[in-house]
Amino acid sequence: MDVEAIKKNWLNREFDVAEFPITQERILAYVHACGETDPRFSDPEHPEFQAPPTFTAQYVGRRILPRDFPMLGFRGFDAGKTVVLHGPARPGDTLFAHSKIADAYEKTGRSGRMVFLVHRMEFVNQKDERVSTVDWRMVRQPDQEPEKREK
């Protein structure tokens, strides 16, 4: 399947909604892991205490790709995430992440032909207010052989 067919058949179709309750403990664990020191994110007593901007990048929905999505080869890798923040997430909120494939494109590099899939998660809170947009770029290498694993 080529990229044009992917665009035609799979782009911008919601394929998953996942629910994530936000707790103080979860925020503090994330802040600790990142080494964040800003009291807005690390001090629960701060009047504006909230999750840091990249907080929602940690979440993965119930599905990475839509059901029956073509394999596009045996090999691939994670090409990173970008986060656009729209509003705060605070303890007690419940976030809902709506997933879709937002873009697909091809490029060539040292490792050969690559197909980039952009998995977009739109996070809204329990009031249906936008919280963030997370774009996760996944690379598939249709021309590469499967990796051989040693037994």
Binding site: E106, T108, R110, S111, F116, R137
Partner: protein, 208 residues
């Protein structure tokens, strides 16, 4: 005039540098380049107007593109509407001969870049499928080259009599200006750049 002929900004999918930050970095680090060309991947950026940044930082900021062909990646300079109609910049299987010919016909110039790089450089394809007519200039100094890649490019240039340009291939701010091209005269715009590249009067530079 010294220009970095191969850079990417956040307009490219893998670029992480803002043009303004490039400008600030060049001045802060007192780099010797006097400007740069934005060669975004598989597209031509006709939206951005960098003239205010040119004035603010006293730098020349020009625009080209990096397209993908059956012989590897190619920089195109002097992009105009005719050239954009002549071939699809987003196509990753463009015939190199077509890009060279159409760029020239439309008043521009096409320059195969990082030719020594595996898969996306011209050397490997030359070895397998033979040379392509119409190549006059290649990128012999690329800031992203790994061991031996620029040497292969230089050997190719010597074998076929190509002239060589230099560019950093910067995707991050700190990479700009690692390689560049020194021209004899001033380059005021894309037309001057095309004329200067066609004249062959330039040299590729690498700073370590």
């Amino acid at each position: 005039m010294i220009l970095d002929l191969h850079t990417h900004s956040i307009k490219s999918d893998d670029g992480r540098a803002r043009v303004e930050t490039y400008c600030g970095w060049i001045r802060k680090r007192e780099l010797q380049i006097e400007g740069f060309v934005l060669t975004e991947h598989r597209q031509f950026d006709d939206e951005s107007d960098y003239r205010p940044l040119e004035h603010e930082f006293g730098l020349r900021i020009l625009k080209g593109s990096e397209v993908e062909t059956d012989y590897g990646h190619v920089l195109v300079f002097g992009v105009n509407d005719r050239m954009r109609a002549a071939f699809d910049f987003a196509d990753i299987d463009l015939p190199l001969g077509l890009v060279l010919e159409e760029a020239k016909r439309c008043g521009g110039v096409a320059v195969p870049c990082h030719p020594g790089r595996p898969r996306v450089g011209m050397c490997a394809h030359f070895a397998e499928r033979g040379a392509v007519d119409g190549v006059r200039v290649i990128e012999t100094r690329n800031g992203g080259s790994r061991n031996g890649e620029d040497a292969a490019a230089l050997a190719l240039a010597e074998k076929f009599g190509y002239r060589g340009i230099g560019g950093s291939d910067a995707h991050l701010v700190s990479q700009i200006g690692r390689c560049a091209t020194r021209f004899e005269g001033a380059i005021r715009n894309e037309d001057d750049l095309v004329r200067a590249i066609r004249s062959g009067k330039f040299e590729a530079i690498r700073w370590t």
